[in-house]
Each structure stands twice: as structure tokens, then as C-alpha cells.
């Protein structure tokens, strides 16, 4: 319906104005309703983070309540989050893991993608097909095995292990970046070679400078990953050391678990808001590159 409306553009000048105005109003109305639906749960989390209501015995109400808009706002939940939980520690852990993952992962992804796209060598085809096949095995399947391998290396319950596991996926997840390099004309590489540059020089001096979008895309996705993952992190870090948890694991255990104290919901929300701020900010700043990356990956398959 609206797609037709979008294309509708009758010829007569007068009716153009009128029908366009109507369809504009319709579009805005529809967008408004959709935006409302999309923001509803998110605003709810944010409002709950700032909700500071007290019950008759003066206790902070931390549970889920039925009214959408709080009657009292304040920063109590954030205070409790920082004083009563290990959230600051979790945040630093995650920041550290995310930082090193993004360095290592971006580096590996670019290397592999570039090699696969622009260098021709004997094992290339075989590597590509092995990468595709391995990538299709569900990751959870090998989770247990990874745990025991890390244990044999005495790395379980360390953040380093988490960085390794997150980054090691890069060797297989290079497709989006490869799609980007595929678009770069081979002639660029050839001309570099004619000038007598080594492959290393071609990569660092010619390719990297023009690959900003894909570098940012890769960096962004690998940086955000550790903030979201609560499965691998849970298995690798284990429950034994709360101080090692990432924000995702820490917050996950606050609300999902068998015997949880559900009076910490508002504190959980406060944690979510703090986690969301840097990610959303990054995301919005890098939106352009993200779109380019996603589009490149999608189009190339």
C-alpha cells in the first residue's frame, strides 16, 4: 500500500500537492506508530533504570511494576549498581576484552580477507571451502570441547581465554571483508607490483588506506560482540569467579537464573542503560560504515 503511495505522483499540479500532502501525513502517522512500538520496550527499560519508588516500609521497590511511567525518578539504582554489585569491575573486564578482541580480530579478519581476495596461491580454494564448511557447524556444539581445550592449556577462568575465543572466529568470519576487497580493482594491486612494491607494502601502503569503511565495520562488530555475548563467556569464565564476569554475564545472572532475587530489576535496568550508552553511541557514529559493511557483505553473499 504505502509502497504504491510512495511511487504515486500524478501529473496535474493541483492534485499533486493535495495527494502528496495526504500521503505524507499517512507516512508520518505510520512512522510515528511504528516508532512508538519500537521504542516502547526500550523506553520502559530506561524509565525503570531511573525509577526510585519506595513502599510503605520505606524500601526501594526494585521489582517489575505495572505502571509504565514511574511516579518518582532518581539515581538510586545507579548508586546501588556501583556500590552493591561488581558492575564497575564487570564493565572494566568487558572493556578490556572488547578492546583486545577488536585489535586482534580486526587484524586477523583483514589479513585473511585480503589474502583470500587478492593473492592467488595453491591452498586458496581449499581454504575457502574448509572455512565455509567449518563455519556451518553450530558453535555451541564445540563449546564443551573448547572449554576442555582451554582447561588443558590452563586458560579457563581467564579473560585472556575469552579474547582468544572471540578473536579466533575471525579466521572464518572474513566474508564481509572479502566482499569489500573483491570490489577493489585488481589493477591497483598490479600497479603496485609494477612499481616494485612487495606484497606487504602493497597491503599496508595501498590497500589499508582505502579500506577505512571495512576496517571500521570489522572493528565495530568485534568490539560490540563481547558486550552482548552471555553464552560463551558464561561457559569459559565459569561461575567460580564473579570478579571475572563481563557485563553481559553479570547482568544475565541478575535476572535469568533459577533462584534470583527479582527485587534487583531496576538495578539491572540501570546496568543495561550504562552498557547500552557506549554501544549505541558507537553504533550511531559509525552507522555509515556499518551500512556499507553490511551491504557489501549481503550483496556478495
Amino acid at each position: 500500500m504505502m509502497t504504491e503511495a510512495a511511487a504515486l505522483k500524478p501529473k496535474a499540479f493541483k492534485s499533486v500537492k493535495k495527494s502528496e500532502r495526504i500521503s505524507n501525513i499517512l507516512s508520518y502517522g505510520l512512522l510515528g506508530v511504528l516508532a512508538l512500538i519500537w521504542m516502547f520496550p526500550i523506553v520502559w527499560i530506561i524509565l525503570n533504570a531511573f525509577r526510585t519508588e519506595y513502599n510503605t516500609s520505606g524500601q526501594l521497590i526494585g521489582i517489575v511494576v505495572s505502571h509504565y511511567f514511574p511516579t518518582q525518578l532518581g539515581l538510586e539504582n545507579f548508586k546501588l549498581l556501583f556500590q552493591e554489585t561488581l558492575f564497575p569491575r564487570w564493565f572494566l573486564n568487558t572493556l578490556m576484552v572488547a578492546f583486545f578482541t577488536f585489535i586482534l580480530s580486526t587484524f586477523l579478519t583483514l589479513c585473511v580477507a585480503y589474502v583470500m581476495s587478492k593473492l592467488k596461491f595453491k591452498m586458496r580454494k581449499r581454504y575457502l571451502s574448509v572455512a565455509i564448511i567449518l563455519g556451518l557447524f553450530p558453535g555451541f556444539m564445540s563449546m564443551i570441547a573448547i572449554y576442555y581445550i582451554l582447561k588443558a592449556l590452563q586458560l579457563t577462568q581467564t579473560l585472556f581465554a575469552l579474547i582468544l575465543v572471540y578473536s579466533s572466529g575471525a579466521g572464518l568470519g572474513f566474508y564481509v571483508a572479502k566482499g569489500f576487497f573483491d570490489i577493489i580493482p585488481d589493477s591497483l594491486v598490479e600497479s603496485g607490483r609494477l612499481d616494485g612494491a612487495t606484497n606487504f607494502q602493497i597491503f599496508t601502503k595501498i590497500i589499508v588506506p582505502i579500506s577505512k569503511p571495512i576496517i571500521i565495520y570489522t572493528a565495530l562488530t568485534s568490539f560490540i560482540g563481547p558486550w552482548m555475548d552471555f553464552i560463551f563467556a558464561r561457559v569459559i569464565l565459569g561461575e567460580t569467579n564473579v570478579e571475572l564476569h563481563t557485563v553481559a554475564v553479570g547482568l544475565y545472572y541478575m535476572m535469568y537464573g533459577e533462584r534470583i532475587d527479582s527485587n534487583v530489576f531496576t538495578i539491572f535496568c540501570a546496568g543495561c542503560v550504562i552498557v547500552a550508552i557506549p554501544i549505541v553511541a558507537l553504533f550511531l557514529m559509525m552507522q555509515k560504515y556499518y551500512v556499507e559493511g553490511v551491504t557489501a557483505g549481503a550483496v556478495k553473499g
Partner: protein, 472 residues
């Protein structure tokens, strides 16, 4: 019949012959090289790196020698990690998977570690064999260089080669190590588990488990136990879910992108941002919010009761009366989760529709509406088809939404896999929750077969796209 049989046999035999000949050639080449090589290289066949050292490639030679020394001592001494030997002993253990049953004061052999270490040992033997040949080749190459009057390459030259003609090796090695340790090895390990009886009754280190051949797979097909009864229903729902999720997101995303990108709509960036926030938020947060909003006395039910749409609250997520309530709810929530992503992607594509296509249409006298219908839509569909297929595969293994929203509920009496469980959440439940590792591995392998088939189909298809070269 007979003829066909014979033909088969012949085909088989000739393939066998070819294989045999190839091996023979390898041996002949090996022997020839041995004969031709200098004494140093000959000794290299027994003491790795000797030839290199003799050719003044000292560092390289030492490295080869250390590798050999390390490998041999590993094999001979079989050091223990977590009370399980590693090395030549682990090859025997790989076959037996442990013999010592243990009792109240003595530990049981850890079958699982024995399996793992056995696989690693085989991998290391393969790596060692490759290094062995590499060392001989390297020494022999130095022989030839000397014969041609050249100097053997120095270590520095070798390193420099890594930045140019062997650049791909330098670039790939770190990634390869990661794949080997964290993907290939675990995958082989879990595939092996599918052929054992490693389950909740055989916890590693307490009860020995053993190889059982194809028993677990046979059970899938003769309808025995959890996996035999639940595989087809779970598979059916997984595929249905993947279809529903993919197409609802795809269509919804394109429509939303078109709406935002309409000429008359101002503040495109703001609108887009509103929707994009949902991509940037971790799903365990947004889905928890959803779960609470859908509670019996949550805002959604209250709203619907208030406007008179329903009489009493709907139990959206664990409705035992009909699994379809939960299923439809999940698909709808998934639209909320996934549409912004497609929107973001299609927006990019919509802005990039080649201008000349429109211009050509205008010359042909097409109206805007026609241009939209015959250019914009086909272009978007054409460009995004590969995405459609990959996102279909992605949805087959879409874990978060099911795990966080329903955990597979409503349950099916007598089985682990619930009505909304996908193969992937079933796999998770079997391994992590129930410790039925062998069944989990079987489900994992079957999931792989399904996604692999889908990918294979995709590939042949996207190849035909590529050959078409560009959208006409």
C-alpha cells in the same frame, strides 16, 4: 545388473589404482631425492635440520632439530595433563577410551580427555610429518642452490620472503592457529562424541564411556528415545521458523526502508536512528523487557483487555493449550528484533540504485510508478537475494530469541525438546543442561547437514548470479 556391477567395480578398481600409483610416485620421488641429495641432506632424513646447519642455515636447522626433539620426547615420555597421558600413550587410549574403572579411592580414567588428547596427538603427528618433509625439502633446495652456484637463502632472506612471495603464509598463520585450536579440533572432537555413549550416565572421570559406532544415528531413524521421537517435529518447526522469520523480516524491512526513504519524509536520519537502537542493544536486555511486557498482567495484556479485544489475559509464551500461541508470539517479536537490520541494509541499497536505469526508463516514457515497480523492486530483490538465503541459514541457528523468550516451552511430555525448541536450542539443552553430549553431537551434525545443504544450494544459485555479472 552384472554389467553395471562390473563397471562399478572397474571404476572402483581404477580409482584404487590411481591412488596407489600416486603413492608409488611419491615414494619414488622420495627415494630419488634421497639418492640425489648431499650427505647433509641425507642425514637430515634422520636428524632434522642437520642439512640446513651444514649449509650454514644455522637458525633454521636448529628450529627443525628442536621440533624433532620436542616431538620425540613428547611421544616417548607421554607427559600427563590432568592425570591423563598425552603422547604415544594417548593413541592407545583413543581406541580404548580408558580401561581403569576406578573405585571409591581411585580415580576412573577420564574417557573424555583421552578422546581429546588422542585427537590432538594425531593432529600433532600429522603436523610433525609435514614439518619433516618441509625440513628435507628445505635442505634439498639448499643443495640445489649450491649446485647452481647460488648461496643458500639466509634466515633473513627467508623472513623477507614472508613479506612478499610468501606473504599469504605470514598473513594466514595466526588465523590458522586460531582455527585449528578453537574450531577444527573442537569440531572433530564433537563429531567423535556422536559415536560414543558419553551421556549423563557416563560423566567423564567417573564412569568410562566407549565407542558405540552408529548407534546414536540409527536411533534417529528408527524412532528410538528422545532423538528418534523429537527430531522430525523439531526439524519441521526449525524450517518453518526460518521461513517465517526470514520473510517477515525481509518484507517488513524493505517496506520500512521504502517508507523512511520516501521523498516527502523529512528527518530520515532521526527515523532510522530510532529503529537502529534496537540492533545496538544486547538481546538479553530487550528480550527480557519483552517477556515482562507480555506477562499476564503486563502492559500488552492489560491494554488488550481494556480495549475489549480479549476477555482474559493471554499466556503468550508458555501456553500449554496450543504451541502456536508461543510460536506466533516469537515470530512477531522477531519482527521487532530483525526488521531494523533489514531496513538498514535495504536503505543503503535503495540509495544506490544505478541512476542510469531510471534515466533509461524515463527516456522510454515510464511513469514513476512503473519505474518503481519494474526497476526499484526487482533491483532490491536481485541485490538482496544472497542476503535472503544467508539470513535463512542464520535463522536456522538463531539461538537467542528462543532461549531467552521461551526456553523451548511449552514442553512436550516425556521429552527434553519443547514445542518451540529449534535444533540449536535443543542442542544446547542436551549438552549444557542435560549433559547428554552424544545426543547433542548428533543433533549438531544433523544441523550441520541441513545448513550445509542449504548453503550448497545457495552457492550454485549465487554462482549463476555472478555469471550474469550485473543486473540487466
Amino acid at each position: 545388473m552384472n554389467n553395471e556391477d562390473n563397471a562399478d567395480k572397474k571404476g572402483f578398481l581404477s580409482a584404487f589404482h590411481k591412488f596407489f600409483n600416486k603413492i608409488k610416485e611419491l615414494f619414488v620421488a622420495f627415494a630419488k631425492r634421497f639418492k640425489d641429495a648431499s650427505t647433509g641432506t641425507k642425514i637430515s632424513h634422520f636428524v632434522m635440520g642437520f642439512g640446513n646447519i651444514k649449509h650454514k642455515q644455522i637458525l633454521k636447522g636448529i628450529i627443525f632439530f628442536i621440533v624433532q626433539l620436542g616431538f620425540i620426547s613428547l611421544m616417548v615420555f607421554s607427559p600427563e595433563i590432568n592425570a591423563t597421558p598425552f603422547g604415544s600413550k594417548s593413541l592407545v587410549n583413543l581406541i580404548t577410551l580408558g580401561t581403569e574403572a576406578g573405585d571409591i579411592s581411585n580415580p576412573t580414567d577420564n574417557s573424555m580427555l583421552m578422546l581429546l588428547f588422542g585427537i590432538v596427538t594425531i593432529g600433532m603427528i600429522l603436523l610433525f610429518v609435514m614439518t619433516y618433509f618441509a625440513s628435507i625439502r628445505s635442505s634439498y633446495k639448499a643443495d640445489l642452490d649450491i649446485r647452481e652456484g647460488k648461496l643458500p637463502t639466509t634466515f633473513k632472506q627467508d623472513l623477507q620472503a614472508l613479506l612478499d612471495e610468501r606473504f599469504h603464509i605470514a598473513m594466514l598463520t595466526p588465523a590458522l592457529i586460531g582455527i585449528l585450536v578453537f574450531t577444527l579440533l573442537p569440531t572433530i572432537f564433537m563429531i567423535s562424541i556422536a559415536f560414543t555413549n558419553f551421556d549423563s550416565l557416563h560423566p567423564a572421570g567417573q564412569v568410562l564411556f566407549d565407542w558405540v559406532g552408529f548407534e546414536n544415528f540409527v536411533n534417529v531413524f528408527n524412532g528410538t528415545g528422545e532423538i528418534g521421537h523429537r527430531f522430525l517435529p523439531v526439524l519441521g518447526w526449525t524450517i518453518l521458523w526460518a521461513f517465517l522469520a526470514t520473510f517477515s523480516n525481509y518484507i517488513g524491512g524493505i517496506l520500512l526502508a521504502l517508507l523512511i526513504n520516501r521523498k516527502g519524509v523529512k528527518g530520515k536520519k532521526v527515523w532510522r536512528t530510532i529503529f537502529i537502537v534496537t540492533i545496538a542493544l544486547p538481546q538479553f536486555i530487550t528480550l527480557l523487557a519483552m517477556r515482562n511486557l507480555m506477562a499476564d498482567y503486563g502492559p500488552i495484556n492489560t491494554f488488550m483487555v481494556n480495549i475489549g479485544l480479549i476477555d482474559e489475559p493471554i499466556n503468550f509464551l508458555a501456553n500449554a493449550a496450543s504451541p502456536w500461541v508461543a510460536r506466533i508470539t516469537i515470530v512477531v517479536i522477531n519482527i521487532w528484533i530483525g526488521v531494523p537490520f533489514t531496513m538498514l541494509m535495504t536503505s543503503g541499497i535503495l540509495m544506490n540504485v544505478p541512476r542510469d536505469l531510471y534515466e533509461a526508463a524515463q527516456i522510454d516514457g515510464a511513469t514513476k510508478r512503473q519505474a518503481f515497480r519494474y526497476i526499484t523492486i526487482p533491483y532490491v530483490v536481485f541485490v538482496t537475494t544472497p542476503y535472503l538465503i544467508t539470513s535463512f541459514i542464520g535463522n536456522i541457528t538463531n539461538f537467542n530469541i528462543i532461549f531467552l523468550l521461551t526456553g523451548g516451552a511449552p514442553n512436550v511430555p516425556g521429552y527434553i525438546a519443547g514445542e518451540t525448541d529449534l535444533l540449536i536450542t535443543w542442542l544446547y539443552k542436551l549438552t549444557i543442561d542435560q549433559n547428554e553430549y552424544n545426543l547433542g553431537a548428533v543433533v549438531g551434525i544433523l544441523t550441520f547437514i541441513i545448513t550445509a545443504t542449504a548453503t550448497l544450494l545457495t552457492y550454485t544459485r549465487s554462482k549463476s548470479f555472478k555469471e550474469e555479472d550485473a543486473f540487466q
